[in-house]
Symmetry: C2
Subunit: 163 residues, 2 copies
């Protein structure tokens, strides 16, 4: 029993480390420590592999249709429940930056849910779409980059293509 | 006070989602759902941005020297404490695959600590090194790809270069 919990704790810790290290890499780039930025990216990739290995042993990766359904259910729950509460609490505490960021995240999660619903309806696509992600708020555009982000208003040069 | 905790919880949840979705993307590729694999990669990139935005508002990204010191302290703690306990418990429960994976992870974290120590000694590098990561266990090689991974024994074609 404890190994199950340990795998889950290790998955969580490694996933957090992977993100934290990419944030450190961005900071190192800003400060022009190129070699250290690259080291942080390398270790972040390593921690992502560890997180993945834990998840695999937890047998939480199912077939693609099930994964899509679970991803959709998760987005719907997060958008409706968690972020709604977070936004209300941030507003009550006068934390404007956090309230705005939570609100962008909620709207973006809503959009993810719609993209998953479309994917579930057409599990086998005729062609692979182009996706572009807003680097400010995470909005996912399909087909083409919008003139500006419909969620946060960022200009089109803030979008990057997904490979 | 609750906004601080909410930022932390959102950081954790988004970081876990980002890793989970890359795992789903790998599975979708295996099952030849190319369009869905790309959608999972797009949403994973989006969740990584959300996780980053939470971390930024938590003010947990310091200057690069401090970030390096914190990353080093974190690796030392994880390698010595958490994984040691996880390995012992997995062995006691007869969970061989988990014991092996935890043991690889511990050794790799040890290696990360050494790389951070070297980076702290030479904060400004003369040149940016090449790093190669073992896709099986996460081992980080610098300079060149080894003939086989010194941690898990994977052959050289399992390594990828860090950009």
């Amino acid at each position: 029993m404890s190994t199950e919990q340990n795998l889950y704790d290790a998955f969580t810790g490694e996933a957090k480390a992977a993100v934290r290290l990419t944030a450190y890499a961005r900071k190192a780039e800003e400060e022009e420590y190129e070699a250290i930025a690259k080291l942080f990216r390398a270790v972040s990739a390593s921690e992502s592999i560890h997180a993945y290995n834990n998840l695999r042993l937890l047998k939480e990766i199912k077939d693609t249709e099930t994964n899509l359904q679970e991803a959709l259910a998760s987005e719907q729950k997060i958008a409706a429940v968690a972020y709604g509460k977070f936004i209300a609490e941030a507003e009550a505490e006068g934390k404007e930056a956090a309230a705005t960021m939570f609100s962008y995240a909620r709207d973006v999660e809503d959009r993810h849910a719609k993209l998953y619903e479309m994917a579930l309806q057409h599990l086998v696509a005729d062609e692979v779409p182009d996706y572009f992600v807003c680097s400010v708020c995470g909005y996912v555009a399909d087909g083409a980059v919008p003139d500006k982000c419909p969620i946060c208003g960022a200009p089109e040069d803030k979008f990057f293509a997904v490979e």
